[in-house]
């Protein structure tokens, strides 16, 4: 009985040793991966910060103002004026006739189940 226990113990030690060896190398590999990822995160963050800075630089009000005046003929951009505030009450509703469109075009009126019903 005793030799069997010895052999089993020996095998167990061998097995544990092998497991510990594997774990050790796995851990080191994981640490390497993590530091690689950290470096990647850092460089991406750096790039992100730089792009944010560049975005802010390209969107600086001076430059936008210059671009707006350079492209005035095409875009017609002007500073916001107080008179540009409209009132919803000033907008006219679209005419009801237009809602139906061309009555001869069957595609436009297929959705209407009950012609008596008020249009929405």
């Amino acid at each position: 009985m005793r030799p069997v226990i010895y052999v089993l113990t020996f095998i167990a030690v061998l097995g544990l040793g092998f497991w510990a060896y594997r774990e050790h190398y796995d851990t080191r590999q994981a640490l390497r991966d993590v530091s690689g990822l950290n470096a990647e995160i850092a460089s991406l963050r750096e790039a992100l910060a730089l792009q944010r800075a560049e975005w802010a630089y390209l969107n600086r009000p001076d430059r936008l103002r210059e671009l707006a005046s350079l492209n005035f003929e095409r875009l017609g951009l002007m500073p916001l004026e107080p008179t540009q505030f409209g009132d919803a009450a000033n907008l006219s509703y679209p005419a009801v006739e237009e809602f139906f469109g061309d009555i001869n075009n069957s595609v436009m009126v297929t959705g209407q189940l009950n012609p008596e019903e008020e249009p929405l």
Binding site: E46, W55, P61, P82
Partner: protein
């Protein structure tokens, strides 16, 4: 182990035969046995002590060795630690109230040299001088060869310069990573931001410290590692600031002024949406101008006129006198007061602008609308010097402004040492004591806020902060209505912006000479206004330094002609940006143009 009996029979019998006491033998044997036992346990204890001692020795040596290793080696980041934002950004970003970047960090490199490792110092010096215009080849060669082992060459490099230095290919030239502060908007809000410089410098990193403005005043917050990932949100609105600076710049040019300042303040929270002072500078490259000896501090572009420009603010002060008189119940808006000019007080003569006379009697409203010095002087005398001082103190005119700028605590108002009646009179219309435009804007915000004080701030707030009531709500409302009349019928008619009910007061003050007395043709023009008058939301304050308007037959130097049109244009531009609907009749339908969001 053989055990010796305590009473060996042979010896006992022998002893009995000889008539001795056999108990002696037993005691003797017992004694011997105890000695043996004692020796054995002592040995065992000694061995145990030895083992214990050895164990302690090993344990302490291990701790000592570990401490030694930790102390002598360079610290390494724990590699398995989940990393966050702390990799970059040792200094938090600064954004405006809508999250647009005002200051951020950029990774760059510093250049340093190990002259002892250099292969050919003379060639290196020559090539460096070709890359960097500020370097001198001869000077560099001398410093490379004088035996030093380390020297800094440049604090920051652009990527192109770094590549060029790489191409020199000398092992004695080395790069250290640097985090550089970047202000993408250039001169915009330069005085608010201030600037930064490098503090303690090492090869691997350098400290970035604020040198002025918000960067310095909130340095601790910006450098707090726990908050480095959260940007500092200022109350500044970048779009508003840009519009204000553009208009102010145009205004300074048109009015031939030396400089100017503009302040936009939210009257409920005290947030400064814009704080502009021109001429400005580029905080990316903060200049260090050497001013000529006879120059005023205001001549430097670094001078923040809005906060540091402590001047007599002129007639803009009159509203405080009338407000206090109404608060004390001495007068109402329609009470007639003596405004007969000129007024004699001791050996002083109080006159009106251009020697006019608004008297003999004028209503309190008219005193403000026509800007009568004599009327306010009479009111001030009724109030009395002590109560006047207490009121101005409650409005913040006796202390430096609490705004988050390094320059603010140094800009204390200039107060007369004594307060005789003549000072009470002159202070009532804004002469004799000096304060900064920010002081004035804060006081106007208090009136516009229904009489509750506000604290000016540059940091975005979530809501109004508790203030102290310094005047009744109806007095504050009446005061705003008087200011409104200044625009509709008085000296600030050019301030009218259709739909925005601007209410404000002009102020013109002669600039004091350094040698004493006042200049005849140098003035500070101020226009302090609030809008919309029916429910005040914002204070707009414009001040121009030495303006002169030359479109007429003779030069005009009153605020009504210089600061007022600039303020009106600012109001017209920023009110829509601040989402304030004008109270205007809608234009006819056919004039509406489609505007896409």
């Amino acid at each position: 182990m053989t055990r010796t009996p305590l009473r060996p029979l042979a010896r006992i019998l022998k002893a009995r035969a000889q008539g001795e006491n056999p108990d002696v033998i037993e005691r003797e044997n017992l004694r011997l046995r105890h000695e043996q036992q004692r020796d054995a346990s002592r040995n065992r204890a000694e061995v145990r002590l030895l083992i214990l001692g050895f164990a302690f020795f090993v344990a302490f040596s291990a701790i000592g060795a570990r401490m030694g290793i930790v102390a002598t080696t360079e610290a390494a980041e724990p590699r398995s630690f989940a990393s966050g934002a702390e990799i970059l950004a040792q200094r938090a970003d600064i954004t405006d109230r809508n999250g647009r970047v005002l200051a951020t960090n950029m990774l760059t490199h510093a250049l340093y040299a190990h002259p002892k490792d250099m292969v050919d110092p003379a060639r290196v010096a020559g090539e460096l001088a070709a890359i960097f215009p500020e370097m001198n080849a001869e000077d560099l060669t001398r410093r490379f060869t004088d035996g030093r082992s380390f020297m800094w060459l440049r604090k920051v490099l652009s990527p192109e310069q770094m590549q060029a230095v790489h191409d020199i290919g000398d092992p004695g030239l080395l790069f250290g990573p640097r985090e550089m502060r970047l202000y993408p908007n250039g001169q915009l809000a330069a005085h608010v931001l201030g600037g930064t410089s490098f503090g303690a410098e090492g090869v691997h990193s350098a400290e970035v410290i604020g040198t002025a403005g918000v960067e310095r005043a909130l340095d601790a917050r910006l450098r707090d590692p726990a908050l480095s990932a959260t940007p500092l949100e200022l109350s500044i609105d970048l779009t508003v600031q840009a519009a204000v600076e553009e208009i102010l710049d145009a205004g300074i040019t048109m009015m031939n002024a030396k400089g100017g300042a503009a302040i936009i303040m939210d009257v409920r929270t005290g947030e400064l949406l814009s704080l502009a002072s021109l001429p400005a500078f580029d905080p990316n490259n903060r200049p260090n101008p050497v001013l000529p000896k006879d120059a005023e501090p205001g001549d430097s572009p670094l001078f923040n006129r809005a906060v540091q420009g402590v001047y007599e603010l002129g007639s803009t002060f009159k509203i405080f006198t009338t407000a206090q008189a109404m608060e004390l119940g001495l007068v109402g808006p329609d009470t007639m007061v003596d405004a007969d000019a000129p007024m004699r007080w001791g050996r002083h003569l109080i006159k009106e602008f251009q020697g006019k006379n608004y008297g003999p009697l004028a209503s309190v409203t008219d005193v403000i609308v026509k800007s009568s010095n004599v009327g306010t002087a009479r009111l001030a005398l009724q109030i009395g010097g002590l109560r006047q001082q207490a009121f101005l103190k409650s409005l913040g005119f006796f202390d430096a402004t609490p705004v988050e700028l390094t320059e603010a605590p140094g800009a204390k108002p200039l107060l007369p040492a004594r307060w005789p009646d003549i000072v009470t009179i002159t202070t009532s219309y804004g002469h004799g004591m000096s304060a900064s435009p920010l002081h004035l804007a804060t006081a106007y915000a208090t009136i516009a806020n229904g009489g509750i004080t506000v604290k000016p701030t540059l940091v975005k707030q979530t809501g109004p902060r508790p203030g102290v009531r310094v005047m009744r709500e109806d007095v504050a409302k009446e005061s705003v209505m008087m200011l409104r009349k200044v625009v509709t019928e008085g000296t600030a008619s050019l301030a009218e912006v259709p739909g925005y009910e601007v209410a404000g007061k002009t102020g013109t003050a002669d600039k004091p000479k350094r040698t004493g007395g006042y200049y005849k043709d140098k003035v500070i023009n101020t226009f302090a206004s609030v809008f919309p008058a029916s429910d005040p939301r914002y204070v707009v304050l414009v001040t121009l330094d030495e303006p002169v308007e030359t479109s007429g037959t003779e030069p005009r130097r009153t605020a009504g002609w210089t600061a007022v049109p600039v303020a009106a244009e600012i109001t017209r531009r920023i009110a829509p940006l601040l989402d304030i609907r004008p109270v205007v009749e809608a234009p006819p339908l056919d004039q509406l143009t489609a505007v896409r969001n």
